[in-house]
């Protein structure tokens, strides 16, 4: 492997030695080092050990090698538990690859940022339609941090200091809510049922489908929360909302969700995308950027036109105006991922969203029923479910996962330590509309073999 020769001009830095000499002369500095004279002399230019620079072909070769050190990306794999491989239209990656989108920044200058702004308005519109909410922001980091922000909002508006999370909810979400809540001086209760909440709770948070894959009837949960004066926060998978009832229709006050899976491949979890939508009455308490529609000023262009345009709005909530009194510290979030999410949802359209969700549901149920038919296996159910199901085999869960791995198959997540009785000794498998039939066949074959050995 060859490295770059030291001192040669770098393709990312256009100035030549002659340029530098000319510029230094204009500035009146003897050399570049002199520009750093304010830095403490004793600490300047320390010894630093980095691997050598690589020319582009060598860099690509290295990265190919590292990508190859991950598991075969096309092997059968049934992990879900918060991240799902989906059928993403090719146009999504193609369009967000347009460098006018990708290499721009926060649209502080709306006149030359209408692409980002109008796309964000499309995003807000799509999120409102899917969730059944009135207003959406332009996106947060991920579902868990968005849910934490929802809890902070609920505490602010109810002036209560305890938030309640309904189990089973993603353990990562619980952990993030706890971390944020600690900063705000809030307590977090994880509750087994909505009966456990009272007038001390700022909100009830429930995941749809829940962490073990079960479809939840949100309406009684919303009623229970409202009955004690708490907000109801639904953490919903936006893909499932192609089929499932909109949480807003069931009484949710805030809906959060994870948008990553509709934006692109899992990417080891990120970039992710936190959906955050709410009722209008909470608009001015919302975190993050919000894009609004407006018109040109009558005297704004000298042409007397008043065309439609988009701007960042309601910025009096935000950190760069309100500083320590802002609704959140969020600045840069996941704008490009929000565009990708929007393109996928709009490419699928109203029919495609439903058809994909139904296909996902059918594939998953078919796989589960084939597994349940194998001797020694069962798929304990906790109610109607969407794309994830529990599998209990003839051997302990961890061993079953290991034996599948030995056969080149990624098992579902080991949830055997959870308190729910159905999860005892179980793995949580995900099958989606993007799971090839051949992968399910391979799984069934492997499980049958393992069952035969047991």
């Amino acid at each position: 492997m060859s490295s770059r020769s030291s001192g040669s001009p770098h393709p990312y830095i256009p100035a030549t030695g002659a340029d530098r000499a000319r510029m230094l002369e204009r500035i009146g500095a003897p050399d570049v080092g002199a520009l750093f004279a304010d830095l403490p002399a004793a600490m300047r230019d320390p010894a630093i050990h980095l691997p050598p620079a690589l020319p582009e072909p060598e860099l690509i070769a290295l990265m190919e090698e590292l990508a190859g050190a991950n598991a075969d990306p096309w092997r059968p794999d049934f992990l879900g538990a918060g991240a799902y491989r989906r059928s993403i239209p090719v146009i999504t990656a193609f369009l967000i690859g347009r460098s006018e989108f990708a290499t721009s920044y926060t649209p502080y200058q709306p006149e030359i940022s209408q692409g980002t702004l109008q796309a964000a308005f499309e995003y807000q519109s799509v999120v409102c339609e899917l969730t059944g909410m009135d207003v959406s922001n332009a996106g947060l980091y991920d579902v868990a941090s968005a849910t934490a922000e929802a809890c902070l909002l609920a505490a602010r508006v109810t002036k209560r200091r305890i938030v309640a999370l309904l189990e089973p909810i993603h353990p990562g979400t619980v952990e993030v809510v706890r971390a944020y809540a600690r900063g705000a001086g809030l307590r977090v209760d994880t509750v087994p049922s909505p009966e456990a909440i009272g007038e001390e709770h700022a909100c009830l948070v429930a995941q749809q489908p829940d962490f073990l894959g079960t479809i939840v009837d949100l309406e009684p949960l919303a009623a229970a929360a409202h009955g004690v004066g708490a907000l109801f926060v639904a953490v919903a998978d936006p893909f499932a909302l192609g089929l499932l009832r909109a949480p807003g229709d069931a009484g949710a006050d805030i809906v959060t969700g994870e948008g990553r899976d509709l934006a692109g491949p899992p990417n080891y979890g990120g970039p992710s995308l936190g959906l955050f939508a709410a009722r209008t009455k909470y608009l001015r308490q919302m975190p993050g950027r919000i894009v609004g529609r407006t018109r040109e000023l009558a005297d704004g262009n000298g042409r007397g036109e008043e065309r439609t345009g988009y701007v960042l709005t309601l910025q009096a909530r935000e950190q760069f105006i309100r500083r320590e009194r802002a609704t959140s510290n969020v600045s840069t979030a996941q704008a490009l991922i929000a565009v990708a999410f929007t393109i996928t949802v709009q490419a699928l359209g109203p029919n495609g969203m439903r058809e994909s969700a139904v296909l996902c549901y059918q594939r998953a149920h078919d796989a589960a029923s084939r597994i349940a038919a194998l001797p020694g296996y069962e798929t304990p159910e906790r109610g109607p479910w969407f794309q994830e199901f529990l599998v209990r085999g003839p051997i302990p869960a961890a061993e079953l996962a290991a034996r599948l791995a030995a056969r080149g198959i990624g098992a579902g997540l080991d949830v055997s330590a959870r308190p729910e009785p159905e999860a005892r000794d179980a793995l949580l498998f995900a099958v989606t509309e993007a799971t090839p039939e051949a992968h399910v066949d391979a799984l069934i074959g492997a499980l049958a073999e393992i069952g035969g050995e047991a």
Binding site: E100, Q114, F121, G183, E296, N301, R307, L336, G349, R363
Partner: protein
Amino acid sequence: MSGSGPGVADFGARLSFDRGEPGRRAVDVPSWAGEEAPLPDDRLLRESVRLPELSQGGLVRYYTALSARNYGIDSGTYPLGSCTMKYNPKVNDTVASLFGFARAHPQAPAEDVQGTLRIQLELGNGLGELTGLPNVSLAPAAGAHGELAGVFMVARALEDRGELETRRRILVPDSAHGTNPATAAMAGFKVTQIPTGADGSLDRATIQRELDETVAAVMVTAPNTLGLWERGIEEVAGLIHDAGGYLYGDGANFNAIMGRVRFGDLGFDVVHLNLHKSFSTPHGGGGPGAGPVLCSEELAPYLPTPVVEEDDDGLVRLVAPERSIGRLQQFQGNAAVLVRAYAYMRALGLDGLRAASGQAVLNANYVRALLHGHYDLPYDRPVLHEVVFSGSRQRRELGVRTYDIAKRLIDHGFHPPTVYFPLIVEEALMIEPTESEPPEAIEALVEALISVAKEAESDPDTLHHAPWTAPIGRLDEATAARRPVLRWQEDSE
């Protein structure tokens, strides 16, 4: 930058929702051929969802037209101060999309993601070398997220010292990014603002006066938002430590000092970096970024979960630090952004990174030299990565605001600099050229700024109505906030 096709006169009035026709579709969904399981009870389902129905070509054309109404680094010079809008190398995108990385599942066992984790380990080691703070979590998704991690870490450490009840204040300079005070507040601290001295550095006397047993930390942006080095920060660090507080470093402007000086050597306890700035990953119109947090040995047990470690047997894995503040997001952060940042670090190496910081600083000083005299320069000192001019003379004498100057610059083909920040400079014009602009681009930018300054004298009205050549003119932001329209409605066209 113009739309194409019919109906562009008021392009923004028609959203995708208004452009579809029932029955059109952009992608096929295969139908299920197997046995059908009954769907759940109707009360759990929805009847329909309102979404646009466009053909594939129609949707591509719409979003392509949108992209044409945007300006990115690839479009031209983008001297947005404090944002480090440097060239985004395309090879970074190419390698990040390799299937082995892209299809990796966040719940995958460590054995299945050794390539991804090796990258994170080596990136973390490299950032540790560059900052002199060897303990790192790459999980935060953006700069403000990294700040939140850092301030939570400070709170947790104080709690373990039994001093969280008494140390309730964080000192923040008045030149700081708004995220600093907002973050301090999210962690439950009170913010005390520290004025900037006449030379553009922190006012040492005020800091010394404020430092007492109620101070948890001092948050310092280094170099600061005036583009200036905080002279004597290493001594201030000593004062803070003597008073029992921590020194937090906002590394948003790290691009200026990569390879030149290290936060750890200066006495910083915890810093965050913005990899979408210094490490060239695309800004995406406002993310995704990455905001790793790095710290001293003392604070290492508090780092957010997860951190990356290598076992004795060479297996790289994610672990939770002993006294971790916990997770700040569900999984491991913006992993694909980290792959890009690693590719950037490997493409440059130490020599390249030092060349980048050197050229970035040279370019900013070149702007300063060329533009000197045409606009006010309230802090007239050699700068690092950026230079902050002021349009206060133009405002006072000509009734032209920096806002007008920025809008007119658009007509010259440039993205405007950051304006009205930092807050301590009236009519601020904050210019950060970065190392990736050639001298001729900098000269063209300066010529445009000078021409606008002259025009402000001869024809201020042209500036008041600028831009003239952008896809759209000035927008009514007041009405947008007073009567918010935040989503498509059936009759909104």
